[in-house]
Every structure is written in structure tokens, then in C-alpha cells.
Symmetry: C2
Subunit: 557 residues, 2 copies
């Protein structure tokens, strides 16, 4: 007989996804077992120059490796699976998820040449897995990607319910409605803690059904006389299906453009998540074989990403697509915060080239994948949790979701707005924050994991503002005479051909400083360099009101 | 008798404000006369590293200096007056505008120490100035700054009507409603060309009256038990007045925080645009003398600008304001595109510190200053122009405004969606684009005007991505032996203390390249440097998948 009944507490430790959108990962620790829900990345913010992606710091999990039972993934979006290739390198444990989710994880691991060393397990919604002393149940939900699940963890202390990302869609494209009955059942059994998606907690009302987008698409397709180019998220399989349906209705062939669009549509077709009638799918290079009014192109770039297909089309740098006068471009997405300007640029560029561009402000060609306030209330009312912890959101979203829970009658002291790394410690009857574990961001730049830190980022920012000036001088070790230089090399500071005078002046200042140092018996190179930096910096600021980085280099021979 | 009747055409030459938001400036050229409307700057886009502001390139005006009659300013926003200190240095001609507008221009010229060399003329709305053969009429309009005007230029060929930025507000705070009667009168006389603000042309319906914000503010103030901190645009005098009114209603003292807030409120109070009851205005340093529920602080930073007061309050780096538990922060503005993330960060930081933060998604505490579609239709219906040219907007806004004009019955061939620099040539009966003049952006960085060009910007971007590696080597001129180095200095590439191995390898690669060159009788430094750059770049990319800038420097002694 195990000592299962002696364990009277359970720890919830979010390591990402709180106080931020993305990088979702939560550890649930019961005795000697840790269940990990999701393992995503986030995109760098604008101050993180040169960084490709940001993943969660999982030191706590590495330190508690022996307890880990596996990764349980709610759905296949990057902010839920994207960090797996990096994290699995440190803690390699089985990964569980639905078919489409696992297919996307698989494709990711193949890219990182890691598939053969990882264990992937496909589960079905409604499956309940016995994991050590715990039961992990996947429950169907709706979201902007097919095959999304909430996860309920049955513990001897009660049910821990994690919604994953979700919305309530009564008319989803695949007919698979969120399993509200099971939510209600679990609510009756007694939910100890609810963790729920807060992304849209600020937005009143309901998120519209995905189906409404199909109606708008049909209307638009009906009016188009030339090609239709639709940009959307590659992973939004239901959106792709609706674009295919509208195309078929109007006798259009479909071509996919963009690497992730090609990759994900292929996976979705192979697994039967995407249905394309025989002969409808054509290769992008064959679009010229058909009349313009018989062509639909589905492309990446709905967020104005610099290298994505639509951005290249807008910039006239796409290999096989040039905008023509009767093209209609539909941007079936809304810009996520931070992307408004690049998306606007794409719209303007396409418009200027003569395309008729349809975007969210003009037609309802997008719906969110996240629950708005009334949907959140429905979920709260079904699950009736004892304790509540809003997840997946910036602080403002979490706070707002907390207010909703309060309006629903939950006591404020039972609502926990916490931060990444906080330990929420639950017993059958109580919950409180009992400490903090190490958590943070790991920056990925090229193939380097975490080797770019604050010093490097600060330098990149500094360099980006006013550039760099390098001053090199060769000095004789014995006589301390200047043998060569000072030579001045600048980058990102000023256009040198037009500023020869300034460069000459910098050389002069450097010379003077070195002479002064030597004459005052300052012989430490570090001191001479410091003086050079100060004098040149002062001189340049006076002349230009700029602060370039200044690097003096002294070479001894 | 002048040959005025022989001039049968008039040229409209926008030099800024088309295909962009900001940097508004338009030249209207009739025979030997040029009238300039507005002279604004815009903010750099995210790729313009280190640039402070962007002003229009006015080479065309400099080349045609002898024709210029003056600058006619519609209102005092930076995107309409901000380039004056730079442009007046090149073409110093009289500036005309309403009282508040000219006070703001004056304050700007004082800052640039230029006031004594410039001629500023205060006019009243309804004034008609005889400028050479033309009459320039200022007509009152509504906007998010007091004292805004449209401008009608009476020419022998017909009226050229420029709306400036505007909205229609039937209940403006100062009671001064847009002079629709005069619009109608001019429409009856016959408007040859209408140029109208397109900023909100994508938005259906009407922009709400500024007064509605006052009602929301009153409601909010009624509920606040601690301090109220309101962030808004300093130039939105009417908003300031409403904040003052609400404060007074609830017996609160007012303190201003932020340099532009202090500067502009002082100007507005002195000129009587802002009415503050005796004893209500207090100094920021005195807020501690009153109970929290008797204090309103009005601050800059509604756009999350890094150095603005609210941003510093949020980051706990403001000298005299720390967030306390019962503070209410009202952000009475919406983020302009590109600022969503910084504004969100400010909201999250304030929320985390315990403030109750009210922003546009939660309460209606802001209205736009620009006309929406139905207002634009009203203006079109009153002015009934023969030709129409949408202005003030990105391409997508201009196109949408063009569609509105078409819906209003204007022939498509009478609508001109043109670009900065295009010459729209009008006769009494015709209009067409007859050519293009030089136009463009001048980047201001520190005290430099236009000395940062594409090469410098490209380098700054490059530097910001993966940093820079400088490799210095000293070579004997005679023997070609390496006397010192190669030494490696990196910035923004990698944290060197943790990567000594890599730096050693780079030195090794550099050494090998130099030796190989010398052994193969390559003696041209430029060739050796090119080889070093290539070899090191290849090596580093292989090791790190990064592309830092590589600068080899060879010093001869």
C-alpha cells in the first residue's frame, strides 16, 4: 500500500504564460510526481535585438527530473509546443497529445533531428491516462486550431482543471463542439482549482463562431473577378477548410504558398483534418495554367512577418506571384499587438499595386480563438471551482479575469493572480502561495541557447542607436611612441565619405589624449583607453548630439 | 494690370502626408506664388534605428524660394508644425495661424533659439488674407486641439479647400462648432478641389463628441477613493479642461507632470484656452500636502513613450510619484499603431503595483479627433467639389476615402489618389497629374539633419542583430610578419567571458587566413581583409548560426 493518502498537498508552479502572452508551461507537482502541461515559446519583444525566440527557463524541472512523468499538450500552437525541442534536450520525457497536436510536434522534432530520441503518445479526447497516482483526462474544447483539449487532473485532493486555450463554438467546422457536458460533470464532482485562459478576458460578450467567417468568405468570393489571395495562420485548419469550401463553390483551384502553410496543410490533409476534393489542389507554379478567376492562393504572412509569402508578394519579391489589377487579397486574421505597423505596410503596399485588400476593419473575415467574458462566465458556472487562478495573459488580462470570477461569486481570497515561478500550494481546503522557484526567459539566437544575456542585448541596443567608432593605435612597447594610427573605423555612426572632417578631428582628439597620458606618465593601457573613450565621446556629443559606442584598441609591438 | 487672367492652371504638390500618417506639408502653386499648408514631422518607423524624428524633404521649395509667400498652419499638432524649426532654416518665410497654434510654434522656435529670426502672424478664424493674387481664408473646424482650422484658397480658377485635420463636434468644450455654414457657402460658390483628412476613412459612423468623455470622467471620478492620475496628450486642451472640471466637481487639486504637459498647459492657461479656478492648480511637489482623494495628477505618457512621466511612474523611476494601492490611473487616449506594446506594458506595470487602471477597452475615456465615414460624407455633400484628393493617410485610408467620394457621386476620374511629390495640375475644368518633383524623408539624429542615410541605417540594423567583431592585426611593412595580434574585440555578439574558446578559435582562423594570403603572395591589404572577413564569417556561422558584422583592421608599422 502506497502512502498516497499521506500526501495532503499539491503544488501548481507556472513557469511561463503568466504576465505574458505565450511561453506557456505549468508544472503540477503531487508528492513524487510532476505533470507538465504545455511547453511553448514566445516571440522576442522589440528590445531583444537579434533574438529569434524566447523559451521558458526550466531549471526547476531539471533539478526535479526524477519526478517528471511527461508533457501533456493541450494543442499544437507554437506558444504551447514550440519550446519542446529545446526543453526535451534537457528533460527527455514522454509527450502526450491529440493526433494533430502530436503530428505538429513530430514535424518540429524532425526539423531538429530529435524524433528518434523522443517518445510521442497520441491520445483521444475523453481518454483518461493513469499517470502514477494521478489520472490525466483530455477533454475536447474549441480553439483556432483543430484537436484542442482542456486537461483535468484527477488527484486524491480534487480535480485540477486547466482549460488550455479555448473558446465556445456551437457550430465548429468539424462539428466537434466543446464537451460542455463533461465540464458540467466534473464541476459536479468538485473542481479544486480552475486555471483558465485569460487572453480575451478584457473583451465583453461572446467570440463569434468560426462558421461566420465562412459566410463572409462566400460573399466575398462571389464578388471576386480575379484571383483570390487569402492570408491566414497555417495552423488554423478550420479556416483553411472554409477557404477551400468557398473556392470549391466558385470553381477555383487552390495553391498553398509559404513554408509553414505547405508543411501544415500537408499534415492536415494526410491525417484527414483537411478535405480537398480530388484535382482541386494545384502546385503554386501551375497557377498560370488557369484563368485568374479560377485561382485561390492561400498564403502565410497575415502578421506582416518580414520573410512570409504575403509580405514578399507586397514587396514584389515573391518568386511566382505578382499582384495584378483584379486580385483580391483577404487578410483573414487580426494583427497581434506589436504587428500593427508591419501589417499596415503590407496592406498599403498591396493596395498601391492595385489589389483590392480586405481586412478585419472592413469585413468580418476573422474571429478570435479565445473566449470572451460571457464564455468565461459559462465555464466558471459549469466548473464551480473552489479556487481560481487565471492563466495565459498579461497582468491586465489576469486581473480582469479575476474580477469576472469575483462577479461569479468566488471569494477574492480564493482567486490567485500569481507570477511565473510562484508556488501555489493547495490542500483539500486551502490554497496559498508558499514560495517561489527559479523561472525566467532563455533567449534563442541562431543555434545558441541562452548565451545571449543582458550585457549582449544592451550592447546591441546601444549599437543600434548611434553605431560604433573603433580607434586603433599601435604603440612601441619600449619608447611608447605611436608607431601607427590612430586609425578610425566607424559603422552606423555617420556616412564617412561626407564626414571626413569629423573623422580627422576624432583622430586628432585621440592623438592628443594619448600624448597627454604619456606625458603625465599614465602608462596603463586601460587608463589610456578610458581617457580616449571619454575625450572622444565628449567631443562627438558636442559636435553631433550623438552617443556612438567607442572602442579604443591599443596594439603594442 | 497684372497678367493674372493669363494664368490658367494651379499646381497642388503634396510633399508629405500622403501614403503616411504625419509629416504633413502641401504646396499650392499659382503662377509665381507658392502657398505652403502645414509643415510637420513624423516619428521614425522601427527600422530607423537611432533616428529622433523625420521631416519632409523640401528641396522643391528651396529651389523655388522666390515664389514662396508663407506657411499657413491649420493647427498646432507636431505633425503639422514640428518640422518648422528645420524647414525655416532653409526657407524663412512668414508663418500664419490662429492664436494657440502660433503660441505653440513660438514655443518651439524659442527652444531652437530661432524666434528672433522668424515672422509669426496670428490670424482669427474667418480672416481672409490677401496673399499676392490669392486669398487665403481660415475656417473654424473641430479637432483634438483647440483653434483648428480648415483653409480655403480663393483663386481665379476656383476654390482650393484643405480641411486640415478635423472632426464634426456639435458640442465642443469651447462651444466653437465647426463653421459648417461657411463650408456650405463655399460649396455653393464652387469648390474646384477638395483635399480632406482621411485618417478615419476606414471607420464607419461618426466620431463621438469630446463632451462624452467628460461624462465618463465624471462617473469615474465619482467612484475614486484615492488619487486620480490621468494620462493624455498635452495638446488636447479640451481634454485637460474636462479633467479639470471633473476634479473641481469632486474638490480635487490639480498637478501637471511631464515637460510638455507643463509647457503646453502654461501656454493654454496664459492665453485663456484653459480655465483653472484660483487655488486649484498646485505644484507636483506639494501633492503630499493633501489627502489622496483630493488630488488629480495630469501626466504625459499616454503612448507609453520611454521617457514620459507615466512610463516612469509605472517603472517606479518617477521622482515624486509612487503608485499607491488606491490610485486610479486613467489612460485617456488610444495607442497609435506601433505603440500598443509599450502602452500595454505600462498598463501591466501599473496594475501589478496595485493601481486600478482604466483604459479605452474598459471605459469610453477617449474619442478620436478625426472624422469617420459619415462625417466625411457630410463635408463632401456641403462642399460638392469638382475634384477630390484624399490627404492625411496611408494608402489604405486614401483609397477608402476615394471610395466614399465615389459613393457620394463623384466620378472616379475626378478623384486623385496620388503620392508625395506628384504634381496635380488643375485648370478650371480639368485635373491631371503632370509630373513629379523631388520629395522624400530627411532623418534627424541628434543635431544632424539628413546626415544619416541608408548605408548608416543598414549598418545600425545589422549591428543590432548579431553585434560586431573587430579583428586587429599589426603587420611589418617590410617583412610582412605579424608583429601583434590578431586581437579580437566583440560587442553585442556573445558574452565573451563565457566564450573564450570561440574567441581563441576566431584568432586562429584570422591567423591562418593572413598566413595563407602572405604565402600565396596576396599583399593587398584590401584583399587580405576581404579573405579574413569571409573566412571568419563562415566559421562563426557554422559554429553559431549568427552573422555578426566583421571588421578586420590591419595596421602597418
Amino acid at each position: 500500500m502506497k502512502n498516497i493518502n499521506k500526501i495532503n498537498n499539491i503544488k501548481i508552479i507556472p513557469l511561463g504564460g503568466l504576465g505574458e502572452i505565450g511561453k506557456n508551461i505549468t508544472a503540477i507537482e503531487y508528492g513524487e510526481e510532476i505533470i507538465i502541461i504545455d511547453c511553448g515559446f514566445t516571440f522576442p519583444d522589440s528590445e531583444m535585438y537579434g533574438i529569434d525566440i524566447v523559451i521558458p527557463d526550466v531549471k526547476y524541472l531539471v533539478d526535479n527530473k526524477e519526478k517528471i512523468k511527461g508533457f501533456f499538450i493541450t494543442h499544437g500552437h507554437e506558444d504551447h509546443i514550440g519550446a519542446l525541442p529545446y526543453v526535451l534536450q534537457q528533460i527527455n520525457f514522454p509527450v502526450y497529445g491529440t493526433q494533430l497536436t502530436m503530428a505538429l510536434v513530430e514535424s518540429k522534432l524532425i526539423e531538429h533531428k530529435m524524433l528518434d530520441i523522443c517518445e510521442l503518445n497520441v491520445i483521444n479526447p475523453n481518454d483518461i491516462l493513469q499517470i502514477g497516482d494521478l489520472k490525466v483526462e483530455f477533454i475536447r474544447t474549441n480553439h483556432s486550431i483543430a484537436d484542442s483539449c482542456s486537461i483535468a487532473i484527477h488527484t486524491p485532493l480534487g480535480i485540477i482543471f486547466h482549460t488550455g486555450d479555448f473558446k465556445i463554438d456551437f457550430t465548429p467546422i468539424d462539428g466537434k463542439i466543446i464537451d460542455l457536458a463533461r465540464y458540467a460533470e466534473l464541476g459536479k464532482k468538485g473542481v479544486l482549482l480552475l486555471m483558465a485562459d485569460s487572453t480575451n478576458a478584457i473583451n465583453p460578450g461572446y467570440t463569434m463562431s468560426e462558421m461566420t467567417v465562412g459566410e463572409t468568405l462566400n460573399n466575398l468570393f462571389g464578388k471576386c473577378t480575379g484571383r483570390v489571395i487569402v492570408a491566414t495562420f497555417a495552423s488554423n485548419i478550420h479556416r483553411l477548410q472554409q477557404i477551400i469550401n468557398s473556392s470549391q463553390k466558385y470553381g477555383r483551384k487552390i495553391a498553398f504558398s509559404g513554408r509553414s502553410m505547405e508543411r501544415i496543410s500537408e499534415i492536415a490533409i494526410n491525417l484527414g483534418y483537411l478535405t480537398i476534393p480530388e484535382g482541386t489542389l494545384i502546385d503554386l507554379k501551375d497557377i498560370k495554367l488557369y484563368n485568374n478567376n479560377k485561382i485561390t492562393i492561400v498564403t502565410t504572412g497575415s502578421q506582416g512577418e518580414p520573410m512570409a509569402a504575403l509580405t514578399r508578394i507586397a514587396a514584389s519579391s515573391h518568386r511566382s506571384i505578382n499582384i495584378e489589377k483584379d486580385d483580391t487579397v483577404i487578410i483573414s486574421a487580426t494583427p497581434i499587438p506589436g504587428n500593427q505597423k508591419p501589417v499596415s505596410k503590407v496592406i498599403n503596399d498591396l493596395t498601391r499595386k492595385g489589389a483590392n485588400v480586405i481586412y478585419k476593419s472592413i469585413e468580418e473575415i476573422h474571429v478570435s480563438g479565445h473566449a470572451c467574458q460571457e464564455e468565461l462566465k459559462l465555464i466558471h458556472s459549469l466548473l464551480k471551482p473552489k479556487f481560481f487562478m487565471p492563466i495565459h495573459g498579461e497582468t491586465k488580462h489576469l486581473i480582469q479575469h479575476g474580477k469576472i470570477a469575483e462577479e461569479m461569486g468566488l471569494n477574492k481570497s480564493n482567486i490567485f493572480i500569481i507570477e511565473n515561478g510562484d508556488i501555489l500550494n493547495l490542500t483539500k481546503k486551502s490554497a496559498r502561495v508558499t514560495g517561489k522557484v527559479h523561472s525566467g526567459k532563455i533567449l534563442i539566437d541562431g543555434s545558441g541557447i541562452g548565451d545571449v544575456g543582458n550585457v549582449v542585448l544592451r550592447d546591441r541596443k546601444y549599437l543600434s542607436q548611434d553605431g560604433i567608432i573603433t580607434i586603433v593605435v599601435v604603440i612601441d612597447r619600449e619608447s611608447q611612441a605611436i608607431l601607427s594610427g590612430p586609425d578610425v573605423v566607424t559603422r552606423g555612426f555617420i556616412y564617412v565619405r561626407e564626414s571626413e572632417e569629423l573623422v580627422k578631428d576624432i583622430r586628432f582628439v585621440a592623438n592628443k589624449t594619448i600624448e597627454k597620458c604619456i606625458n603625465s606618465d599614465i602608462t596603463q593601457w586601460s587608463q589610456i583607453k578610458r581617457n580616449m573613450r571619454n575625450d572622444i565621446s565628449f567631443f562627438i556629443y558636442g559636435k553631433t548630439k550623438r552617443n556612438p559606442m567607442i572602442i579604443p584598441i591599443i596594439m603594442e609591438v
